[in-house]
Symmetry: C2
Subunit: 481 residues, 2 copies
């Protein structure tokens, strides 16, 4: 315990020195021996601190030479707000999504397309022990019917304080992941043909759901800093009937934006006044890099009109399929639909997560996970700056797990996607994030992986392909025939 605090103190001092410019990119750090003497800590404590800073991409070890502050290139500029075409449109993205998801199955690919945490970051030993203990005692074989295992709902209610809410176990319905939570919410509040307002670009899974349920999408202009443009949303609400708004409120996917608190409040008020439900997808809220978790829009909800959805799939174990919805005034209908559609969520995982959370493991795990994702995202920004063609823009999210990259004119994301696959790299091309398959010059890169030379090399390859496509796009084309 004491040892831990010591090396963290050393890390903190060095980071501070970098922040204030006492240590600049390219500077050599003090030798391990000297720092150990200066800070009056053991050599191994200093080594631990250096390893930590290295793993976070802040310093690098050069053989026979020592440790250096990494060169942080100026990050690429951020993309401007989007401007999707107005009006409601049927969604036709599923076939393309299926093609992209299918193409990314090869386990030998560098997986920068699918946004899930590096399996090395799952607390699988501990979760494995918990699940083994439950199953060996005969637990988890019977149904945990909706609303789901009370032990888990109690833990979720406890965590809701962190979201700015004060929810009770009775407010929750456990689902098979966040997507089922969103699916149930959509089915509870909308009928076939209804229009759903959604950020643009939006998570392709949400677009697929809208398509699967026969709904239409109204894409709302959004920006990487503030999310959905609320003035544009208000105009859309005035111009036609909107059955619900679906928004990722914190570290959205793919833009990475957090809707500021004032906007969250305005959004909830604006919809409340019109009795339009808000389906809040807060899948990434726990993955903040700053000091505290951003609030949920649900925390401003006085009318029960916010259906709050989330899961453990981005933080603990995607394959365990446990999520939840807090459906507000739609609770009864959502519980009915859950029972009718999938009866119940797998019991074993509900009980195991409850035990994991009750023992306090989740917070400790999150701290480590956040640092890893933050380090990967920092290194990724750096690598994009180094390797992508001039004119490239990229988001700088303060949490979540994805970076949205806008390629300079003429580069086709689908072509880049195909050529990257051939080079052993999976990415997510922009058009799958839009009902109309816009964003054809954008790609999404996932930061779930622990940063490594292999990932760095993949980014360099992507940059090289992009540069090649650019010169191809700019070269005068000779028409045949």
């Amino acid at each position: 315990m004491h040892q831990t605090r010591l090396y963290e103190r050393v890390c903190g001092k060095l980071e501070e020195a970098m922040r204030v410019g006492a240590l600049r990119p390219g500077d050599r750090l003090p030798s391990v021996r000297r720092l150990s003497e200066r800070e009056r800590v053991s050599v191994s404590t200093v080594l631990q601190a250096y390893l930590k800073l290295e793993s976070r991409g802040l310093i690098e070890a050069r053989p026979q030479s020592g440790h250096y502050v990494r060169w942080q290139r100026p990050l690429p500029p951020e993309p401007p707000p989007t401007s999707p075409a107005p009006g409601a449109t049927p969604v036709t993205v599923s076939a393309l999504v299926a093609k992209v998801v299918d193409s990314a199955r090869d386990p030998d690919l560098v997986p920068l397309g699918c946004n899930q945490p590096d399996p090395d970051l799952f607390p699988w030993r501990r979760l494995g022990r918990i699940v083994a203990g439950i199953a060996r005692e005969g637990g988890g074989f019977s149904y945990e019917l909706p609303p789901g295992a009370r032990s888990l709902r109690r833990q979720l209610a406890r965590r809701s304080l962190d979201w700015g809410c004060t929810l009770s176990p009775e407010d929750f319905i456990v689902t098979s992941g966040a997507m089922e939570a969103v699916q149930l919410s959509l089915l509870a509040v909308a009928r076939q043909g209804d229009a759903i307002a959604i950020e643009s670009p939006a998570y392709f899974g949400s677009l697929q759901l809208i398509e699967a349920l026969g709904l239409k999408a109204v894409e709302i202009p959004s920006c990487p800093r503030q999310g959905m443009d609320l003035d544009a949303l208000e105009r859309a609400l005035k111009s036609r009937r909107i059955a619900a708004v679906l928004a990722v409120t914190n570290f959205s996917n793919p833009l990475g934006c957090v809707i500021p608190d004032a906007n969250k409040e305005r959004l909830v008020e604006m919809l409340g006044a019109r009795e339009v439900p808000l389906i809040e997808d807060d899948l990434y809220g726990d993955l903040y890099f700053g000091d505290s978790r951003p609030r949920a829009a649900k925390s401003f909800d006085r009318r029960g009109l916010v259906l709050y959805c989330s899961s453990f799939s981005k933080t603990l174990a995607p394959g365990w399929r446990v999520g939840w919805v807090v459906p507000g005034r739609y609770r009864e209908r959502v519980a009915l639909l859950k029972f009718a559609q999938t009866v119940a969520t797998a019991s074993l995982q509900q009980l195991a997560f409850a035990e994991f959370l009750a023992a306090g493991h989740y917070e400790r795990h999150l701290r480590a996970l956040r640092k890893s994702v933050a380090a990967t995202m920092r290194s990724l920004g750096d690598a994009v700056a180094a390797h992508f063609p001039a004119g490239t823009r990229a988001t700088r999210p303060e949490g979540g797990g994805v970076v949205w990259v806008e390629l300079p004119g003429g580069i086709s994301a689908l072509e880049l996607h195909d050529r990257a696959l051939a080079a052993g790299i999976a990415i997510a091309p922009g058009p799958i994030f839009s009902a109309r398959q816009d964003y054809e010059h954008c790609i999404r890169i996932s930061c779930g992986l622990v940063w490594s030379p292999r990932v760095e090399a993949a980014i360099a390859t992507l940059g090289r392909i992009a540069a090649e496509l650019r010169s191809g796009a700019e070269a005068p084309r000779v028409r045949h025939g």
Copy 2:
């Protein structure tokens, strides 16, 4: 091994003697010593055989006296074919189902309402060891995206021979239980407002799904022996557009019927000629009491128009939520919908079931489970005959897990349900099995529990309440006010 065969031989001989009337109800069986001498087997073999027959409800031990053939009362007559009102109707059963399901949550109730196997019959020790082994090695934490774990699909393909099919692993999509399989199938072939033909009475979960998806039900007359009346179905198909037929083909719920092979073939042909898909729910096919498994209607499918759905929820572990669909020509659409709605089925359970099946445990487990359910069903028929009012009818299924009881005129199933709950017994009242809440004089009793004095007493109580309700119903009512 040898020992097993010996005691089974002794059982077989005694059963044969009962069948041909050499041993009649009330007869005393030979003493253990005498039978051991006559059959030239050990005393312990005879004891084992007697225990077996006792557990199956065929004989009973009387203290200080010996073993006797149980008094098998003549079973109640079977209910006649049903005659639901024709035409398509919106389904409005969910609220009543929710009330019934909610009321049955109390773990102290005798659970004759919910149809799931007695937890004592789950092979939970073995499944627990398998799941523990997988989780401790880090397995099951990542997604097994649709179509699902190949190891499981291989085992399912192997089993399909038993259904009369020759399916390949590629034909399957793993789902979160059979209900999700049916949900995906409905969503793949029907649009809001479409009419679905369904048996009458039908499983309440299917009716709920039809309601949840905004579809309509066309209830087809059905009988406990042959299932859906195909002439009536043909008339319905001629009179209006039917988007799909949804049928439990083997040991249906609640009627317990197996559609005869000739009818299965005719059904598949009739629908094929009209290009109407058949959603086949074969949840109970493995729970046959006879010599062999009834075929799936899918085995007659030449056009890919049958969407075959099933799961392990009635045979292994309901809370594990693993099922599957063989969607025929709708494969691509079903896979898309599965991904869009719940992303994937829990990985751990997919891998564990695959291992359980590959090791050959499933067949051994099924043999024991079938015997237990058959014994409970036999004892239940006996108990209904003994304790229910004259005029009661009851089905005699040759597999599955439920008995459908038609009460003599005037007895309200909902009233019986409420009074039974107050007496600590859960049953399923008839109206939840109909889109229009017909069958108000019927109840469904589940046979998942191992037969015991507690269950016997519960049936006696139900019979007593029914008798009281009958005399109440028949007494002249005095109107007040």
